[in-house]
Amino acid sequence: MDKLPLASLQQKMINYLVNDDPNVTSTIMKQIKDHGRITRDVRLNIYKNAYQVRLKETIENDHEMLGFFLGDDLFDQMVLGYINAYPSDNTSLRHFADKLPLFLANTPPFKDHPIISELAHFERFLMVAFDAADAALFTRDLLANTPPEQWPDLVFRFHPSVQLAHFHYNSVETWQALKQEQAPEPAKEQPSDWLLWRNKERLTQFRSLPAQEYDLINMILQGASFADLCDFLLQEVSEEQASPLALDYLLKWLDDGILIKQKFIQQ
């Protein structure tokens, strides 16, 4: 029996864990001592089982509603397919299933039902909101302490947990129904935009974005000032309504806790 160098022994062991080929199994089996009351097969299988169970549990924890939507059989099929397609290359299980939406969008039979990939994507958005960086918030008090003459030049930055999501199907409504243990409506095309973030109680929160608010948020992302937002609203409502409407939006964002404290640049 040849003694293998460490690197080659480790490669054979990893190959065994990620691969079901009997040749791969017999290759590592040759390096295992046969001793005691249990066979080498039983011994190795403890590791293989642990590997698969751990990754499956990770996906179950991250994607609970997707699991309810698919049912046990399809979920198991998805897990096996994903584990084989994307063995973990990250030290953290937190990121193991990051590519699950991509896998579901490209792999039959899941890709024939795009809402499945969207559900997975929505759940990953929630995870990002949950543990994104902390940051001090821009508040009503800070706004009140800003001299009124500086307001037009205010620019805003979003909290690191804030995400904009676009879905083509009724994915979020389906997720909500499952969360409330109700049967979701049949999948249908229903384009919509969503805002997700972590609120002041550190809970993940989301709401749909009407077209006007979606446009305003995109303008902020591109560096627009408060005056720019007011100008945009002037195209949509009367002159008397524009400024109060802009202020309403701003106060809503402050109360949601999606804007952060920052030094304002005077133009």
Partner: protein, 310 residues
């Protein structure tokens, strides 16, 4: 004693032997009796402030940018001493050390100021594939030199010695030509790292590989052991799996007592990772450990901060 560098973090308790007891006083690094901190218990710990000496946290769980878990972690750190326990160092892997991971670890060390940092004597992956499991090494000269070299690099990077923990294992490679405890002890001696001895893992591996657990204890240098883990397992008759989802089993309590007799006062904690019961149940297990230690080594009096024994 490690001193606090950051304000508002709890320092380790001091202990003295109660005057009536005969025995050896615990060493300075002795933290007392602790528990692995789990998400399920965050609220309970903060609202009930249980009388426990310290917590161990799993480093990887807090390698995130922010949010609720980190908020709770820091709030609990204000109340209790902590040690950090990692699962991803992969000290035995033939891949290069993961510097990104080590940098994240160092950031967390600076945030938490733990009494010490531990990981496992194992490898977790190779060639960019991670098993997310603690895989055993072959116990031979090549692996010994490889591990010692890497422990040295890690300790230099972190600027402090680390603790390595023994695994539960199910296989023995034909490449091994020494016992696990010989290998483990040599790693500690040659690399200067300390030892976290998992009493349950010794029991599990002794059953699976049919060796005498007492031989394991006697093969480890007394002055190297800084921490004990106690955990539950699942017994399948012909073999035992280290599941961490049950209370500590009676034979493991018995082995704990043998370990106390050999190593004296060693910071001890209960490690439950799955099937997490209410906090009170685990605190009761911590008390069981404390009582076994007091019965074996003498009764200790935990002192309040700044209290001096006269």
């Amino acid at each position: 004693m490690v001193h606090n560098l950051i304000k508002n973090q709890a320092s380790a308790r001091d202990f003295s032997l109660s005057s009536a007891a005969e025995g050896i006083a615990p060493p300075e690094h002795f933290l007392g009796f602790g528990l692995g901190l789990r998400t399920d218990h965050f609220q309970d710990v903060l609202s009930t402030n249980p009388d426990i000496d310290w917590f161990e946290v799993v480093s990887e769980n807090f390698m995130v940018d922010g949010g609720k878990p980190k908020h709770y972690l820091h709030a609990i750190r204000e109340l209790y001493p902590m040690v950090m326990h990692g699962v991803s160092l992969s000290i035995g892997s033939t891949d290069p050390l993961n510097m990104q991971y080590l940098r994240q670890l160092k950031v967390l060390v600076n945030e938490l100021q733990p009494q010490w940092i531990s990981d496992h004597l194992c490898w977790t992956g190779v060639n960019q594939t991670n098993s997310h499991d603690l895989l055993p090494l072959p116990y031979n000269e090549e692996a010994l030199n490889h591990v010692c070299d890497r422990v040295d690099q890690v300790q230099n990077f972190l600027g402090r010695p680390i603790l390595l923990e023994n695994l539960s294992s199910y296989i023995t490679y034909k490449e091994s030509d020494m016992s696990e405890w010989e290998f483990f002890n040599q790693v500690a001696r040659q690399s200067g790292c300390n030892i976290l001895l998992d009493i349950n893992n010794i029991y599990v591996s002794a059953r699976n590989h049919e060796f005498d657990a007492q031989d394991y204890l006697e093969g480890i240098d007394k002055d190297k052991v800084k921490q004990f883990h106690l955990a539950g397992h699942t017994d399948y008759g012909n073999y035992v799996i280290d599941t961490h989802d049950h209370p500590v089993a009676d034979p493991v309590w018995a082995l704990y007592q043998q370990a106390l007799k050999r190593f004296g006062w060693v910071s001890t904690m209960i490690e439950r990772d799955d099937n997490i019961p209410p906090l009170a149940e685990l605190l009761a297990e911590v008390e069981t450990a404390r009582n076994i230690a007091y019965d074996t080594l003498g009764r200790l009096q935990p002192l309040k901060q700044g209290e001096i024994v006269t």
